[in-house]
């Protein structure tokens, strides 16, 4: 769209717009002088060209100044957001180790590179830490001098009026017959009443308001530090573990009792809070109709817990968003499932096993699977020692015979069915390899066969028994219990993190919604002996509110220093005596009228 080629030559000579604007900037800065300074505590920008005089001290000082400059803060902030990206796209060890393993298996070419770059642990990687540590050093290096500047500003007074008030963003003037001193005094009193910090400086009143903006800004940045320190502290000292508990069973908070346990690098085992609890009952009810069928309506674990080794037992209910808090440790309800109770008789007819076996849910309707392992005590018909294993499949609500599906239709135990197939032989627990409780390793086991020579499989209702062939015994589905799994975690300093967060929001609101502004009122006797009043305002940024506020102030002051009649008062408009009368209804003491 542009047609640079046809630009007439004289237009080429026009200075670039940017230069013109920069020149205007400098000019205004000169004119405003001290008046515009210190309206914020932001550090002055220095150019990179300011290379230091050589010498280590010089370099260190230079480096420090760079690090604490706004420009570098900006760059570091940008790097921080950029650096966070890979961690959201590549699986992270800290989030899901299994996923990382799968990823590594699938992407063998990039894996070594990613590993070098610590892309599987972005948020604890050297480079990510470097960014945020630099940022926070920069932050501290920024806050300390800014706080100093701010305290200095609070102690000192608003700077005197610049020479030419007409140069300011909002300006007004009128002539009055009031004495200049009286106008100034009236202005000072008025500004004070409006909670400005005001004082008379020479021929003008200087007033300033909105210091809370700076205070809010400093508070926000300090709150960021509080949050970071609290977060880091929490990461270093946290502990987190999981435990699955069947109704009636208990847990006491020691490492050996956990199914799975993770902790921060400075965590100390002895610091686990000494408490214990028992799962009395799990209650789950589910929506029976409508589009949300199957959605949990009540989903709660009733527990009895004791705080400390000898604490008095207390009853409480743990829900999904409502953890039990004991001694700074939180117990969350994570998941729930069924544990069919089975009993096994051996070849001699003796009951050798009876237990509630927790099974893992596979879907929202709690179709579950797992393994039943009879390790000791079992003897076959001939009295020989053996081990039994069963692969178990459980549905709380069976679709019905001939429906061709063994998936549960509903999460509640409406029509529970347990499907089993059995093995005997060595389960392999003694081989030293850690075994998954929910899986059966059948490599050293033999299937039980039915009369047709096929694998023995049977679906059982509660109370039914599956007979093992050749008098090998039997297994009975006795009943159902439910289990709940809990996440037990302790993250110290989260209270501090919350305090920091609230402080950050409050500070931010103050910093962004409060305007810091200055008003000057100058009153001097003109050549003709009539007082000339000038008012002008300057804000941090251009704001529509500043002229409004100035107008408001001007009208108030105008009542005390009424506009003098005179043809040259305002060349644009005819003086309107009515209006002047109205506003001078209460003449100021010093008025000459």
């Amino acid at each position: 769209m542009s047609n640079t080629k046809s630009n007439p030559p004289q237009e080429r000579e026009r200075p670039d717009e940017r230069e013109v604007r920069a020149e205007q900037d400098r000019e205004t800065a000169r004119e405003l002088g001290a008046a515009g300074s210190q309206l914020s505590t932001a550090p002055r920008e220095e150019t990179l060209a300011n290379l230091p005089a050589m010498g280590i001290v010089g370099w260190v000082r230079w480096f420090w100044r760079q690090l604490t400059s706004m420009r570098v803060a900006l760059i570091l902030l940008f790097l921080l957001s950029l650096g966070a990206i890979p961690g959201s796209l590549i699986p992270q060890n800290s989030v899901d180790e299994l996923k990382v393993q799968t990823f590594k298996g699938l992407h063998t070419t990039v894996t070594p590179i990613y590993e070098k770059l610590q892309f599987f642990d972005v948020y604890s990687s050297v480079w990510f830490s470097a960014i945020y540590i630099l940022l926070f050093i920069s932050l501290i290096g920024c806050i300390v001098p800014r706080t100093g500047t701010f305290i200095g500003q609070l102690r000192s007074r608003a700077p005197g009026a610049p020479k030419r008030l007409t140069r300011l963003p909002a300006y007004t003037t009128w002539r009055t017959e009031a004495e200049p001193e009286d106008v100034r005094e009236a202005a000072r009193v008025m500004m004070r009443k409006r909670r400005y910090r005001a004082h008379v400086d020479g021929d003008a009143v200087a007033a300033e308001k909105g210091y809370l903006r700076e205070a809010g800004n400093l508070m926000f940045h300090i709150a960021l530090i509080v949050m970071l320190v609290a977060f880091a502290w929490g990461q270093l000292f946290k502990s987190e573990g999981a435990k699955l508990i069947v109704e009636g069973d208990g847990f006491s908070n020691t490492i050996t009792q956990y199914d799975d346990f993770k902790s921060g690098s400075l965590f100390d085992q002895d610091s686990l809070a000494p408490f214990s609890f028992t799962l009395d009952n799990f209650v789950g009810t589910y929506e029976r109709s409508g589009p949300q069928i199957g959605t949990p309506r009540t989903y709660e674990a009733h527990v009895t817990y004791a705080d400390g080794a000898y604490g008095k037992p207390k009853k409480t209910v743990i829900k999904v968003n409502d953890p039990l808090v004991v001694d700074g440790t939180k117990v969350y309800l994570n998941a729930h499932g069924y544990a069919p109770v089975v009993s096994v008789k051996d070849g001699r007819g003796k009951e050798v096993y009876k237990a509630a076996v927790p099974l893992l849910p596979l879907d929202n309707n709690v179709t579950s699977s797992g393994a039943i392992k009879v390790l000791d005590g079992y003897r076959d018909k001939g009295g020989k020692k053996d081990q039994l294993g069963f692969q178990a499949f459980f549905v709380p609500t069976f679709a019905g015979n001939g429906k061709g599906t063994m998936f549960s239709q509903f999460p509640a135990a409406d029509m529970p069915v347990l499907a089993l197939n059995g093995f005997h032989g060595s389960i392999g627990v003694n081989s030293g390899i850690a075994q998954n409780v929910y899986q059966l390793n059948t490599s050293k086991m033999k299937e039980f066969k039915d009369s047709k020579g096929k694998q023995l499989k049977q679906r059982l209702l509660v109370g039914e028994t599956m007979k093992l062939p050749d008098g090998a015994g039997s297994i009975k589905f006795e009943g159902i219990q439910e289990w709940a799994s809990f996440q037990i975690s302790e993250q110290p300093a989260s209270g501090w993190a919350l305090t920091g967060a609230i402080g950050a929001i409050a500070g931010l609101a103050g910093s962004l919604f409060i305007q810091r502004r200055r008003i000057w009122v100058r009153a001097v006797r003109g050549e003709d002996g009539v007082t000339v009043v000038e008012m002008a305002g300057l804000g941090r940024s251009e704001s529509a509110k500043l002229p409004e506020e100035l107008a408001d102030l001007a009208v108030t002051l105008n009542a005390a220093a009424p506009t003098a009649p005179g043809p040259d008062n305002d060349p644009d408009t005819d003086p309107d005596p009515d209006v002047v009368d109205a506003s001078s209804a209460e003449p100021f003491e010093g008025a000459e009228k």
């Binding site: 542009s2 706004m70 990206i85 959201s88 100035l550 009208v555």
Partner: protein, 360 residues
């Protein structure tokens, strides 16, 4: 199927009908806006290139009403407040708006705004019916989130209009975006009904997600301002440097508000909503603390909220730093809004994390 289920089905159906109807009305509003721009382009009132380069300071009079003794009020013209733009900014007046000061253009503009308001009511009804049919907040999946998001965007626009802010210039952009959003929602993202996992049963769902949606809507409006600022700014600087913009650019861009107004507008919008965004993230962290046992776990959704937050902080910093005002800061604002959008669509579609229950 029992009675309750049937009512729910009916409500869900009503909701769909209302959403489709609102799309039809938005389409009419779209055409009315087009008519506004077309009729407006035939006028040259007050928007010649010469007017843009005027060196005169814009003087504005703030009229002040003073109560008279008699009880009536008189408008006091004096003291007159003379305002002056900050040094270094161009003293360029705002353009006349899409209608270009023409009667016909303005008429179509008004029709477009009325149609937008009507479509908003219909769409809001659709969202409400959806919420009632699933008996929960209408943001359990991407479809619901999308329809709620655009209804809040339009609400924010209408509120700004009602506050007599100069936002009519964004009408066409807004209606186009809403139509796109609804089009994607009804075709690609539609989900008939959805279950909520227990973790979503919390009042934090209401607080956290509703503020997230409000932030997104307001960020959208700020982003629209920034985008237009970039166009208008290059147009103005071309004229200031003695260039001549093309006819189409001239016709469209000259009718927009001045670059400095647009810049200020988007800064105010973004700055005003930034604390709310901070709150949204913190509310999310508190909820995560209650639901998952850790308040921050670098889940992709959390990461992208954080990135968005840092990007907006970057933008606010840039505004406070001398060398980064203007276009550079504007690019940062657009990047930040892009992060917000990615956090919603990108993360839900391409990345899976704990938040993936939101469902595509």
């Amino acid at each position: 199927m029992n009675l309750a289920a049937a009512t729910n089905e009916n409500l869900a159906h009503t909701s769909n009908v209302l959403i489709y109807s609102s799309m039809a009305v938005y389409t009419l509003a779209f055409f009315a806006h087009i008519a506004e721009w077309v009729f407006g382009s035939r006028s040259k009132v007050g928007r010649t290139a010469a007017a843009l380069t005027s060196e005169e300071a814009a003087a504005a009079t703030v009229k002040v009403e003073v109560a008279q003794k008699s009880g009536s009020t008189a408008v006091l013209d004096r003291p007159k407040i003379v305002t002056r733009s900050a040094a270094g900014s161009r003293d360029v007046p705002d353009g006349p708006g899409a209608a270009g000061g023409t009667f016909k253009g303005d008429l179509y503009g008004r029709i477009a705004v009325s149609l937008t308001a009507l479509a908003f009511l219909v769409q809001a009804g659709g969202v409400l019916a959806r919420a009632m049919s699933v008996r929960r907040a209408p943001w359990g999946n991407m479809y619901e989130f999308s329809i709620t998001f655009s209804v809040v965007v339009v609400a924010a626009y209408l509120v700004l209009l009602a506050l007599k802010k100069n936002v009519r210039w964004m009408g066409l952009l807004l209606v186009t975006a809403v139509l796109l959003d609804l089009g994607i929602a009804t075709t690609l993202l539609y989900t008939s009904s959805d279950q909520l996992v227990p973790a979503l049963h919390s009042y934090w769902l209401w607080i956290h997600v509703s503020t997230a949606i409000i932030c997104g809507a307001v960020f959208f409006i700020g982003g629209a301002g920034t985008l237009m600022y970039l166009f208008r700014d290059s147009y103005e600087s071309k004229i200031a440097n003695g260039g001549r913009p093309g006819a189409f650019a001239e016709s469209v861009l000259s009718r927009l508000p001045a670059a400095s107004s647009l810049d200020k507008f988007s800064y105010r919008i973004n700055a005003a909503v930034f604390p709310l965004w901070t709150f949204t993230i913190i509310a999310g962290a508190i909820w995560a603390g209650d639901a998952w046992g850790r308040y921050w776990g670098w889940d992709p959704k959390e990461v992208w909220s954080f990135i968005t937050w840092v990007a907006y902080a970057c933008y606010l910093h840039a505004r406070a730093t001398a060398g980064w005002k203007g276009r550079k800061a504007a690019y940062l604002a657009l990047i930040a809004f892009g992060c917000w959008i990615f956090n919603y669509y990108g993360v839900n579609i391409f990345v899976t994390g704990k938040h993936s229950y939101a469902g595509v």
